[in-house]
């Protein structure tokens, strides 16, 4: 990612990662590239593993489970957290946990254990009995759309002292848009009830090249199309 003229939130993330912080929460409106940043920001050479938390997920998604194999028996498959612990075998990898606050009770408890500090975090393999510990370099970036960090469970909040609100898409992501939409997309990503995601602008940008801006706006923005087009006219032509 480029290091020049970064918006404050992205600069904060880089500063935190570059100064050894390995437990970070990225929160804020959807569509600003929090997960992408989690998967790519900093040193992720040992691998980055994404875990999308839902109420229906199980501990198996976190640590692993026995799965049927080609020989008709069962073999152990590591979950995302365990993969991140082990990394490339030399260094720990990155665990990117999306919406951890939405996980069920038992999964949440397991995740807390896996995200614990290096000295405390251990897990026993059910087949081999081997005790696993996170390798050096293991890091966790958690993303959530929650706006109030006080809503986080206390145990989780305690493990993540650095919380950064990502309120604008990363400049590298915006660079994919046509110039007239870049600043607008950055502002609208955090426009409260009338926010428009970066993905919508990307769709609009692609569509308008083929079918014209009126049709593209109608398809992407629906009943807001006329107002958005009028606002874009005033913004870019006045």
């Amino acid at each position: 990612m480029s290091q020049t003229t970064l918006p404050q939130c992205w600069q904060d993330l880089h500063d935190a990662i570059n100064n050894g912080i390995d437990r970070i929460i990225l929160f804020g409106p959807p569509g600003t590239g929090k997960t992408f940043a989690g998967l790519t920001a900093g040193n992720v050479q040992a691998g980055a593993h994404r875990l999308i938390c839902t109420e229906d997920m199980t501990v198996a998604d976190v640590t692993g489970t026995f799965m049927p194999n080609a020989s008709g028996t069962f073999s152990w498959v590591d979950g995302a957290a365990l993969k991140a612990w082990n990394g490339d075998g030399i260094n720990g990898g990155r665990l990117v946990a999306d919406e951890i606050d939405k996980a069920g009770g038992d999964v949440f408890a397991q995740l807390l254990a896996m995200m614990d500090s290096h000295g405390s975090a251990t897990w026993e393999h059910p087949e081999t009995g081997r005790i696993h510990r996170p390798l050096d370099g293991f890091s966790v970036i958690m993303t959530t759309n929650l706006e109030d960090m006080n809503d986080l469970p206390e145990a989780l909040a305690d493990r993540f002292p650095v919380r950064i609100r990502i309120n604008t898409p990363h400049p590298d992501a915006l660079a994919a848009l046509s110039w007239d939409l870049r600043d607008v997309a950055a502002r609208m990503a955090d426009a409260g009830p009338r926010r428009i995601s970066l993905r919508s602008f990307m769709a609009f940008d692609n569509l308008r090249k083929g079918i014209g801006k009126e049709k593209a706006a109608r398809l992407v923005f629906r009943d807001r199309a006329e107002s958005i087009l009028d606002a874009l006219t005033i913004e870019n032509k006045a």
């Binding site: 502002r187 107002s227 005033i234 006045a238």
Partner: protein, 485 residues
């Protein structure tokens, strides 16, 4: 029904922070749609009619380009009135809407303009008629408004149509500069948005038009000037081919032609004054006379303290009355084109005991003005001062604020070459000084000797007279067509 809510969050400005807006619906009626940039609130019609769409575009353009928190700063500059700036801002916003493709000329109307025009003409409210004509210029509201005006006063209708056209022409000239919609900080005035400097300049002209005597029809015109008031005013009034014909008679009571009242020149750097910084000089030399009270003989009173006068005074002034020295405040332009000596300052004090004398210039040092004399004391030496002017208006403003009594005379000694710091002579700044002097009864003289004579006249009870400098007279004639009196 489809609800079309505008999207002000999409708009950006250099002078305000981006944030979420609160948008509320209203009827498409003049006065109801509003935009508050500071509080980020907007009230607009949300139906899907064309009229509502241009109203939304109009309010969105306000959100994009109009002054936010600095509007009070523009008012405080004192160059144009708040009402005039608001009217001209409407023209700027409407012109920008028109330029980007919104059909302002066809749809921006609420249907009540004809009645507004009739009311203003019927109540003889020329100033508000001018402001309304300006505010509606270039929109669908203009024609019905002028129609309403013409139903009561055909000459006004033609004059206001002419003003509307000239305002649009000026705004189009401003548009060509490429800065009309700029929201950057104007570093000269320290205010934003930069595009508003054009509004201020035109508004200063509109103020002069609004304050000019209203055009009046001659008896002959009234007799044959009746009609239905419809049309665009180009061919009305028989042989009258121009709006201001009929008000041009030299020396009549109707003033100068409105066409002679013109806007000041557009400049690349918006004219502005410097900050008045008054330095302290040691006032060590005492002069005769102060501002104190003095008893003199009077023909009427309560206690006859001077009975001997009953026989010796032909007017038998046996009573006392207390008179107070008038003092005065003399402001002297100490720029390179002016000159004065300490002896002249002494003479000023002899003729106006206790007066305050301030000299100013566009000095390169931190201080650009000095009090040379005050309360019976005078400086032993005059300080060296700069070559430019820089703070003419702040200096006379200071003098008016310092007046101990409303009757204290204020005298301004200047050759009229007023200008801001590092700027050339500017008509708009000159007009600001002229208007201020007229409003506050400041006596203007081009040389210190004339100030001495003027103060002597006041002392002797004679009526003093302003002698307007040649540059002021020229500017006034250029911009207003008439003589500066």
């Amino acid at each position: 029904m489809t609800r079309l809510v505008p999207e002000p969050e999409i708009l950006s400005r250099y002078d305000t922070e981006h944030g979420n807006w609160e948008v509320d619906p209203c009827r498409p009626v003049r006065g109801e749609p509003t935009t508050n940039i500071v509080e980020r609130t907007m009230t607009v019609p949300v139906d899907d009619s064309e009229r509502s769409r241009v109203i939304r575009a109009h309010e969105m353009m306000h959100a994009k380009v109009s002054p936010a928190g600095d509007f009070i700063g523009w008012i405080n500059r004192g160059i144009a009135s708040q009402t005039a700036m608001k009217a001209v801002e409407e023209v700027r916003v409407n012109l920008l809407c028109d330029k980007v493709g919104f059909k302002i000329r066809e749809h921006l109307t609420d249907g009540g303009e004809t009645a507004d025009g009739e009311r203003l003409a019927a109540t003889n409210d020329w100033a508000n008629a001018v402001f309304m004509a300006v505010a509606t210029a270039g929109t669908a509201s203009s024609k019905p408004f002028l129609t309403g005006i013409r139903r009561h006063n055909r000459l006004w209708g033609s004059a206001l149509l002419d003003i509307s056209k000239r305002v649009l022409k000026e705004m189009n000239k401003a548009y060509k500069t490429g800065t009309l919609s700029s929201t950057s900080l104007d570093r000269h005035s320290g205010l934003s948005p930069q595009g508003f400097t054009h509004v201020e300049r035109i508004a200063e002209w509109i103020d002069r038009l609004a304050n000019a005597p209203a055009p009046q029809e001659t008896a002959e015109e009234t007799e044959d000037g009746t009609g239905d008031g419809e049309g665009d005013g180009k061919k009305e009034g028989g042989a009258r081919s121009h709006s201001n014909i009929g008000v041009t008679g030299a020396g009549d009571e109707r003033g100068v032609p409105l066409t002679a009242i013109t806007p000041s020149q557009q400049t690349t750097v918006p004219p502005h004054w410097g900050e008045l910084v008054i330095g302290k000089l040691p006032l060590t030399v005492s002069m005769k006379g102060t501002l104190g009270k003095k008893r003199i003989a009077a023909p009427t009173g309560r206690s006859p303290r001077r009975l001997h006068r009953y026989y010796t005074d032909p007017q038998r002034r046996i009573f006392d009355k207390t008179v107070r020295g008038m003092g005065g405040i003399v402001v002297i332009d100490a720029s390179g084109s002016m000159s004065f000596t300490r002896d002249q300052i002494k003479k000023i004090m002899e003729n106006a005991p206790g007066c305050t004398v301030l000299s100013y210039s566009d000095a390169m040092t931190e201080e650009n003005a000095y009090i040379l004399a005050d309360n019976g004391m005078i400086a032993a030496e005059l300080p060296s001062q700069g070559y430019g002017n820089g703070v003419d208006f702040p200096a006379i403003e200071w003098a008016v604020k310092r007046k101990p009594r409303s009757s204290t005379p204020v005298v301004w000694v200047t050759d009229g070459g007023v200008c801001g710091p590092n700027q050339g002579y500017n008509d708009m700044l000159a007009m600001q000084c002229i208007e201020y002097c007229k409003k506050h009864n400041i006596f203007v003289v081009p040389h210190v000797n004339e100030a001495i004579k003027l103060l002597h006249d006041i002392k002797m009870g004679r009526k003093p007279h302003t002698v307007w400098p040649a540059q002021f007279r020229q500017t006034y004639r250029n911009l207003n067509g008439g003589l500066l009196r």
